[in-house]
């Protein structure tokens, strides 16, 4: 039961959705819409699971007074502040209207923190470029040259430096060519490879050959 029922669910749903691609008529059309709706509900619960799991892990850290437990307490407090404000102090379904407490927390706390977390990467990409990016081999040199042309071609400086050359040798045109031709070719090769792998993995999951998502027991 613990493993058989999930395998049957996976196979049934997978086969129905493959069929509905070729046969949009009933009952596959209705089943497609029903499964789509269910997926949205279950997906929402799955994300709730992630959020609640964070609180569970943080709560455990606080309870057992592990290293840095005050920060785990801060995580829990921040979570409940956001939840309480969102549910009780922000006007119900209109919780995201401009001027609500929830939207203020979004604009002045969530937004700056998210933005800065990602902006930190600018420093690390610069540091990594300086410390690790070496033209050690022919392949690495090709990679470096492509990066050069794209980086300089995507800013006006590139064209300024190559303005004395014929139009087709301007840095921006070289960057365009790199993106549209060899980059497209390489990305396409990767894409086709991934597509074939995805198709085979999907088939293995539907047929129950691949069962790693069920975990142990």
């Amino acid at each position: 039961m613990k493993r058989e029922v999930p395998l049957i669910i996976c196979a049934t749903v997978g086969i129905v959705l493959i069929f509905q691609y070729f046969i949009p008529a009933e009952p596959f059309g209705t089943l497609n819409q029903v499964f789509s709706d269910w997926f949205q509900v279950i997906g929402a619960f799955a994300i709730w699971l992630g959020a609640l799991n964070l609180i569970k892990v943080s709560g455990n850290n606080v309870y057992k007074k592990r290293k840095d437990w005050p920060y785990s307490l801060l995580i829990i407090i921040s979570f409940f502040v956001m939840v309480i404000v969102g549910f009780f102090f922000s006007g119900g379904r209109r919780f995201q209207d401009q001027g609500t407490a929830f939207s203020a927390l979004y604009d002045y706390v969530y937004s700056p923190l998210t933005s800065m977390m990602f902006a930190l990467l600018a420093f690390y990409v610069g540091s990594a470029s300086y410390r690790a990016f070496r033209a050690r081999t022919k392949e690495a040199t090709v990679l470096l040259l492509a990066a050069f042309f794209v980086m300089l071609g995507r800013v006006p400086l590139g064209d300024t430096l190559t303005s004395w050359l014929p139009n087709w040798l301007h840095m921006s045109n070289i960057a365009n060519w790199i993106m549209n031709i060899p980059n497209t070719a390489g990305q396409r090769a990767i894409m086709i490879g991934i597509a074939l792998g995805t198709v085979s993995t999907s088939l293995r999951l539907i047929l129950g050959i691949e069962r790693s998502y069920l975990g142990g027991e």
Partner: protein, 232 residues
Amino acid sequence: MSTLGVWVGAILTLGILSFLYKDNPFYKVAEAIFLGISAGYWFVSLFYQSLLPKLFDNLGLTKLFGASNTDGALQTLFVQGKFSGQLWYLVAGALGVMMLIRLFPKGGWISRWPLAFIVGTTSGLYFTRYLASNAYAQISATLKDFVVAGHPGFLGWTNLNNLVVLVGVVSGLTYFYFSKEHKGTVGATAKVGVYFLMVTFGASFGYTVMSRMSLLIGRLDFLYRIWLGLIK
């Protein structure tokens, strides 16, 4: 933007920025707030934007508690005495709750049912879509306008570029074909593929630099223009 809000945003921004010097309590506080607030944001958003309209409204629970005027499955069944298609949402709700049981060590196995549903749905969709869009459509696009030698315009830029794309795709795929040893013709083709992939990765790196720098520009713009008012 309110002054207090801007100051809070700026202080939190500087807290994250302080990590560049070294890990410190100021950064850890900002990080902890970020984690908690993010989780809380998703929790509230999903309730109001997904679960409330999709599940609770359709089941009639919101009308039952006086939060809505729209009839749901419960009202249709018990008041009007009819079965409605909305009753199917009970299954979705049950599967969703099963997902949450994963939080408990005992009985967590029941979460495999909704997980299997998600895996099955995704597999069924991806099977056809990836084959059609990422395999077939890409192969079709690669073989477009390929002119055989001798036809007028063979050396035109468009045809040469299409030839380069064709060579790149075939050689790139050959590199990823590990069922045959990369020797002789296969090896040489794979080697050409490696160079195409290096150009691809170099272009990706260049764009990644652009992306990361853009994000920092945005943040510094907030600090200089909105917080400190140094830029008009």
